[in-house]
């Protein structure tokens, strides 16, 4: 395998008081190959967004490493990190909150270009801005408008244009579709898929929508309470989910077809507090298969097939079931 574009090693992000911190991300490791789209799924509080922001150093990590082409981003000086940011971009969830309402679209895009000294000169900038708007399916004359003049889907396209302005290699897409209506969602999904191919982008795609993840991602990391439960290629994960949490997550998301009977694995209760996570496996308090041993030690993430890793001490049980 080639050198990963992004490699996350034993990443931890704790918030708040040092004696009783909120363990938002607790020892997470994964790698993203160039050109790959990695999906990060999990429910609220699983640490998805915190990982996305920590990877880009929008917030500083507590422990662990984030390597970009083998270099640890955290060790870079502020000055070098700022230069590096043109390679690393983010698309935010809420297209209403992530565009400055007082700036015209041209100014929003120009700021990104100016920060990195790209396309110097007024005419060159204007040309690049027009080109960017066309890339995301808007028109050049939209540059003189303000964010409030656009619909949600169009604003998300502007968010995409801003991320692309500096010609990044890697994009964190943090729930870029969840604020959009279904009919607009599919337009933006197609746009992201097209751009990824045309510009050979590498993506970390954060989402709670499993159908979208299945459609867009090559591999998936399933998170629960700041820890990785399972990693597999998308096809493998959806065909052969081995972790009880992944199984429950897949079963809980209703398929848009009344003829497909839903196999309910209702999980009891709520996600526990990340201030006092359960001992051993963090999922055991809601797991229908938990036994006493689950409380004893944190399960390791073991490879069970090529590229398929599971953190569960009872995984053999599910592997047999799937094989049968």
């Amino acid at each position: 395998m080639s050198t990963p574009l992004i490699e996350v090693r034993h990443l931890k992000k704790y918030f708040g008081h040092s004696t009783r911190p909120v363990r938002a991300v607790d020892d997470v490791s994964f790698a993203i190959q160039p050109g790959e789209t990695l999906g990060l799924v999990g429910e609220s509080g699983s640490g998805k967004s915190t990982i996305g922001r920590t990877v880009l150093r929008l917030i500083e990590r507590t422990e662990g490493q984030v390597l970009y082409r083998g270099d640890d981003l955290a060790s870079l000086s502020a000055e070098r990190m700022r230069k590096m940011r043109s390679k690393l971009q983010i698309i935010f969830q809420d297209p209403y909150a992530s565009l400055n309402p007082k700036m015209r679209i041209s100014a929003i895009l120009d700021e990104a270009l100016a920060t990195h000294g790209l396309h110097p000169g007024h005419a060159a900038r204007a040309k690049r801005i027009a080109e960017l708007l066309e890339t995301v399916g808007l028109r050049a004359e939209h540059a003189s408008r303000f964010p409030h003049e656009f619909s949600g889907g169009q604003r998300q396209r502007i968010g995409v244009a801003r991320a692309l302005a500096v010609e990044p290699e890697f994009i964190v897409a943090d729930e870029p579709l969840s604020a959009l209506d279904v009919s607009i969602q599919s337009q933006v999904i197609n746009l992201l898929a097209d751009l990824r191919e045309r510009l050979s982008l590498t993506m970390l795609f954060i989402s709670h929508d499993l159908d979208v993840v299945e459609y867009l991602c090559d591999r998936v990391v399933v998170l629960y309470l700041g820890k990785v439960m399972e990693v597999a290629s998308t096809t493998e994960l959806f065909a052969r989910p081995l972790h009880p949490y992944t199984q429950a997550l897949l079963a809980a998301s209703p398929k848009p077809d009344p003829l497909i009977a839903t196999v309910h694995v209702p999980l009891k209760g709520d996600i526990p507090s990340p201030i006092a996570p359960p001992s051993g496996c963090v999922f055991r308090t809601r797991c229908p298969h938990a036994i006493d041993a689950c409380a004893q030690a944190v399960p390791t993430l073991d490879e069970v097939a090529t590229g398929h890793q599971v953190a569960c001490i009872r995984k053999e049980l599910f592997m047999m079931k799937v094989a049968a």
Binding site: I184, S186, Q187, P254, P256, L267, R286
Partner: protein, 335 residues
């Protein structure tokens, strides 16, 4: 139980005067809900789903100066048929929170932060069932048990901020169920929740419906939820019902181009049908027209791939095209 529908809505229209002109949020909407059944109202933002429910509950703010027409015939427990839109305020107040209940999308903003959940549930039974304080609190505890809240005796005295999102939505349901309603309007009740919690709440609503025989008007944009939890579906677009059908035929053979597009653009649809994932997703082009400048003919015409010349001339009527199926499209002829 009578064979008459619990609720029959006919030609419901709600318009709001604004500085820029009259906005018709809901236009000519008709549907019915049978006793013990669930009708889903499906549509995207701005399609008029929530305005429909607020109009039926008469909860639109007075300051909105809503202009409402049409009728909403409701069968009361006493066996009378009343028009919800014509009832005097006092009579409406006796139905609302009693026979007619509602749960909202955001459980945090719809619970009062300065009262314990027990007091909030007790309030409605004290009002409608004339119970005294201690009897009402005992009833509130039973309601918390009904919605499977653990340690209900303790939770009764907690405030909304002490509960998780899923627990708050359970409290909202307990509140709605307190007076044993015959019609529950659920406006996006699981949209703010995670999928595993959504599954719990949907199972709970099903169980309560089976036990009490209440009817549910389920308002949602989530077609996956509709597929598994509705009996009948009304699809709304730009304030109008564009298609009505029982749930299975709707998903099997959608008739209106908008319904067809909505189902085709779901990324999970191909997988659910066992097909390989398509290279590109189907996308409905463009976006909903402004309600201030609706297109002259069919509201969906500017985005419709099947549009023909006549579509721009007049809004097509909702016609019956087969048994229990209706569509508002010139390409679908009457049965």
């Amino acid at each position: 139980m009578s064979a008459l529908p619990r609720l029959v809505v006919q030609n419901l229209s709600t318009s709001f005067p604004t500085e820029d002109g009259l906005v018709r949020s809901v236009a000519d909407v008709s549907f019915a809900i049978a006793p013990g059944k669930t009708t889903a109202l499906v549509g995207e933002s701005g399609s008029g789903k929530s305005v429909t429910s607020l109009t039926l509950m008469r909860l639109l703010p007075k300051t909105a100066n809503a202009q409402v027409s049409g009728s909403a015939e409701f069968g009361t427990r006493a066996g009378r048929r009343v028009d919800l839109l014509q009832l005097p305020d006092e009579a409406m107040r006796q139905l609302r929170g009693n026979e007619l209940a509602m749960i909202f999308q955001e459980p945090m903003t719809s619970l009062n932060p300065v009262f314990t959940v027990g007091e909030q549930i007790a309030e409605s039974v004290r009002l409608h069932k004339k119970l005294d304080r201690s009897a009402a609190l005992a009833h509130a505890k039973r309601m918390l048990d009904l919605v499977e809240i653990p340690a209900s005796a303790q939770r009764l005295h907690e405030y909304p901020h002490q509960l998780s999102g899923g627990m708050r939505q359970r409290v909202m349901i307990a509140l709605a169920m307190a007076c044993d309603p015959t019609l529950l309007i659920a406006d996006e009740p699981t949209t703010a929740l995670d999928v595993t919690i959504q599954a719990q709440i949907l199972v709970l609503m099903r169980r309560l419906q089976a036990e009490t025989g209440m009817s549910i008007l389920f308002i949602t944009h989530n077609l996956g939820v509709v597929a598994h939890h509705a009996d009948d579906v009304a699809v709304m677009y730009a304030g109008r019902v564009v298609e009505r059908a029982p749930v299975r035929p709707l998903f099997a053979t959608p008739q209106h181009p908008y319904t067809q597009g909505l189902l085709a653009c779901l990324p999970g649809k191909a997988h659910a049908a066992g097909l390989p994932r398509p290279k590109r997703l189907f996308a409905i082009r463009g976006q909903v027209s402004s309600p201030l400048a609706p297109p002259p003919g069919c509201a969906f015409e500017p985005r419709c791939d099947q549009a023909v010349a006549v579509c721009t001339q007049a809004m097509p009527p909702l016609v019956t095209i087969a048994d229990a199926r209706q569509a508002r499209c010139v390409l679908r002829s009457a049965a």
